[in-house]
């Protein structure tokens, strides 16, 4: 019998609740806006005894992820959270955690990268480490933050890959919403204990993560063991395997709690849509409002939301976009000198497909620049007009850009 309770809370509080429900054993904490309330909340629970975990107040983000790496190596379930420059500072360890195949779960309250300083939201921080070998899941609301973080432990510990659960800073991290807290017994049944691949035992001594040669090398018994490239191939295989695992875990979570989040992708009024708006995170929710407005005007518009950015659900995205006329991808990040990262991935998923839509990109919300459903609807109207004019290659549309020099 489920005894779920609903409370009004911020996204950061939802993240802390998820870590508590997952019975994390080691939490590493270092402050950065807008993530700080996550670890503040966990600190309170650890001090009051409500959460029986080791709480390590490290002196930097680099050390925060380091603590998770080694605690996970000895079999503890770990959690930390960060944002922007904090994530950039721990980048070395982001790669280490993934290469070491440690099922660490980390919350990312997405924030713009400095310089110049901005504490406000975009998704440049997590997208900049997309290649490091973590699963990256993006959330639309506070309930999804909680549910996704709990799911993340199942995904991580069954595939031995770390998972980042990304949610927009301030827009979700500091915004109050009703969140249903699953019954702890329900989560316990959903989330079995973690069994590490690593062996740390003086009676069976192993050297974990040593220098590994390019080619396979024989062990003391003459058996050829994997080289660096083989380990990387296995890691890639695990990430590709996550495509199935993310779907399955979301479905099983749905069976336990009554809530699912679409697995890899989610959609809104997509069935007969001719124009598909694409984004990750809370921007996707904004897009649903814009789509509804445009539907009222008689345009066949739908939304495809990216929940799993890594692994990228290329096949599922291709299937979802097959036969449409236009895909308009809204990125809150940019690969400078090229285009938005999601836009690139959508293009590559569709490349050489007959019947694939034309793909346009749009850049919005950098450094917290406000973007309303009306702005998104306007951008869609512009794109539809360009498409009707037969334009195939188009520079990204910068939404709400007001350059000083343009005003002169």
């Amino acid at each position: 019998m489920s005894h779920a309770k609903t409370r009004v809370m911020t996204g950061n509080e939802a993240a802390a609740h998820a870590a508590r429900l997952a019975r994390v054993q080691v939490v590493a904490a270092y402050p950065i806006t807008p993530q700080s309330p996550v670890v503040e909340t966990l600190s309170e629970w650890v001090e009051s005894g409500e959460l029986p975990a080791e709480f390590v107040t490290v002196e930097s983000e680099h050390s925060a992820l380091t603590v998770c790496i080694t605690a996970s190596t000895v079999g503890a379930r770990t959690f930390t959270a960060t944002s922007a420059n904090g994530l950039a500072y721990m980048t070395e360890q982001v790669w280490w955690a993934a290469g070491a195949r440690l099922p660490i779960v980390m919350g990312i309250a997405n924030r713009a990268m400095a310089a110049p300083w901005s504490v406000l939201n975009d998704q440049q921080d997590s997208m900049s480490v997309r290649d490091a070998g973590w699963v990256q899941l993006y959330c639309r609301n506070n309930q999804e933050i909680l549910d996704t973080l709990v799911q993340a432990y199942r995904i991580a510990e069954s595939l031995y890959v770390p998972v980042m659960v990304c949610y927009d800073g301030f827009l979700l991290s500091h915004t109050m919403m009703p969140v249903e807290l699953p019954d702890p017994d329900t989560v316990d049944a959903f989330l079995p204990p973690y069994h590490p691949l690593t062996v740390v035992d003086p009676d069976d001594p192993r050297n974990i993560g040593p220098v590994t040669l390019a080619d396979p090398r024989p062990d003391a018994e003459g058996v050829a063991r994997n080289g660096y490239m083989e380990f990387r191939a296995l890691h890639h295989r695990a990430l590709l395997g996550a495509l199935e695992t993310i779907e399955r875990v979301d479905a099983e979570y749905g069976a336990a709690t009554g809530r699912t989040w679409g697995g890899l992708l989610w959609e809104h009024r997509l069935d007969d849509a001719d124009v598909v708006l694409i984004a990750a995170g809370s921007l996707g929710t904004q897009l649903t409002v814009a789509a509804d407005e445009l539907r009222d005007e008689g345009m066949n518009v739908g939304v495809l939301g990216i929940r799993s950015y890594r692994p990228f659900p290329a096949v599922a995205a291709r299937d979802a976009l097959d036969g449409r006329s236009l895909a308009l991808v809204f990125d809150k990040a940019l690969s400078y000198g090229h285009e938005g990262p999601i836009c690139s991935d959508i293009r590559s998923a569709l490349q050489s497909r007959t019947g694939a839509p034309v793909v346009y990109g749009a850049i919005c919300g950098l450094g917290g620049r406000d973007v309303s459903p009306a702005d998104l609807a306007d951008a869609t109207r512009r794109a539809v007009a360009d498409r009707a004019a037969g334009i195939v290659d188009r520079e990204p549309d910068w939404i709400n850009l007001h350059l000083e020099e343009d005003a002169r």
């Binding site: 790496i69 605690a71 503890a76 070395e92 280490w96 993560g209």
Partner: protein
């Protein structure tokens, strides 16, 4: 003080490893691991020790060993200690972090300072071979004045940092300075450290034949000379009480320190070092040594007065 023949004979450092001939690390590592009776997990950043440890799929040291990123040693040890406590295994092994001088005094000092301030529960051994030897002898914060390295071609201009004093300023429960070529001194200090809870820091001077440019047969001789000149002092600070140990304690009694020039002239890295620079190093050593003697006598006075 433990005698050589009283040391445990079990070996976890295996022959046929990848360390250079005459490397001081092997001597020190054998003493450290004997003191922990093999019940340890070793945390090791990129360093010469990594080379000694060997390449996948074979390890040259039969202890649990966790490789970690260069700046992260102390935080990694803190995470291991926390993880072992959280999983109820803290009593099964001692967490031993072991990093070089660059990994400790330069890139690793932030994490080390944080762990010391939190008094995390592990032993940290800095094996100090006085430069980035693994990457080809670049200067570190612990390279001595006058030493030529591949980034100080005419000799380093600055004196090294005093890392044990930096660590002492954190108020940790135990710290020691020792030398890899005094294995019984190393052993006794690690045995003592093992019984103490919190962050225990041991600074281990470790001669390096290739980087210091001397014949590998002289590793122990040179390391001993470093102590006999007072350049390296064997001491410990337990709950604030400073005590010279072993050869340094006998030097304090006899007052017969050898001139640092004897030590400097045995090593290629100091080749061509000017007399005034040697004199400056001698003055620096004299001043440090006077400080050690003053603290040693003050602590001795306190303990007899009590």
């Amino acid at each position: 003080m433990t005698r050589i023949t009283e040391l445990p004979t079990d070996e976890v450092v295996l022959p046929g490893n990848r360390a250079c001939a005459g490397c001081g690390i092997g001597i020190g590592l054998r003493a450290v691991t004997k003191a922990l009776e093999g019940r340890l997990v070793l945390v090791n950043p990129a360093s010469c020790l990594t080379v000694l440890g060997g390449m996948f799929p074979t390890s040259s040291v039969a202890v649990p060993w966790v490789n970690v990123a260069f700046p992260s040693t102390a935080a990694a040890a803190a995470g291991l200690a926390a993880g072992l406590r959280a999983t109820g295994r803290a009593d099964e092994m001692t967490v031993l972090a072991m990093a070089g001088d660059g990994g400790t005094s330069d890139i690793g000092i932030q994490a080390l300072s944080g762990a010391a301030e939190r008094n995390d529960d592990f032993i940290y051994v800095c094996y100090d071979n006085e430069a980035y030897m693994n990457t080809g002898t670049q200067r570190s914060g612990l390279t001595p004045r006058g030493a030529r390295t591949t980034t100080t071609w005419t000799g380093k201009r600055e004196n090294p940092k005093d890392v044990p004093r930096i660590m002492e300023a954190h108020g940790i429960p135990y710290l020691a300075s020792t030398s890899a070529v005094f294995p019984t001194d190393v052993y006794d200090k690690v045995v003592k450290a093992r019984s103490i809870e919190g962050l225990r820091y041991i600074h281990m001077s470790t001669p390096c034949p290739s980087g210091w440019q001397f014949d590998p047969k002289d590793t122990v001789t040179i390391g001993q000379l470093a102590v006999e000149t007072g350049l390296v002092a064997l001491y410990e600070v337990e709950d604030g009480a400073f005590r010279l140990t072993g050869r340094s304690a006998s030097l304090a009694r006899s007052g017969k320190r050898k001139p640092v020039a004897d030590y400097i002239r045995m090593q290629g890295r100091f080749k061509g070092m000017a007399e005034e620079d040697i004199a400056a190093v001698q003055a620096w050593v004299d001043q440090r040594w006077a400080g050690y003697i003053a603290r040693h006598e003050a602590s001795a006075g306190e303990s007899t007065g009590a």
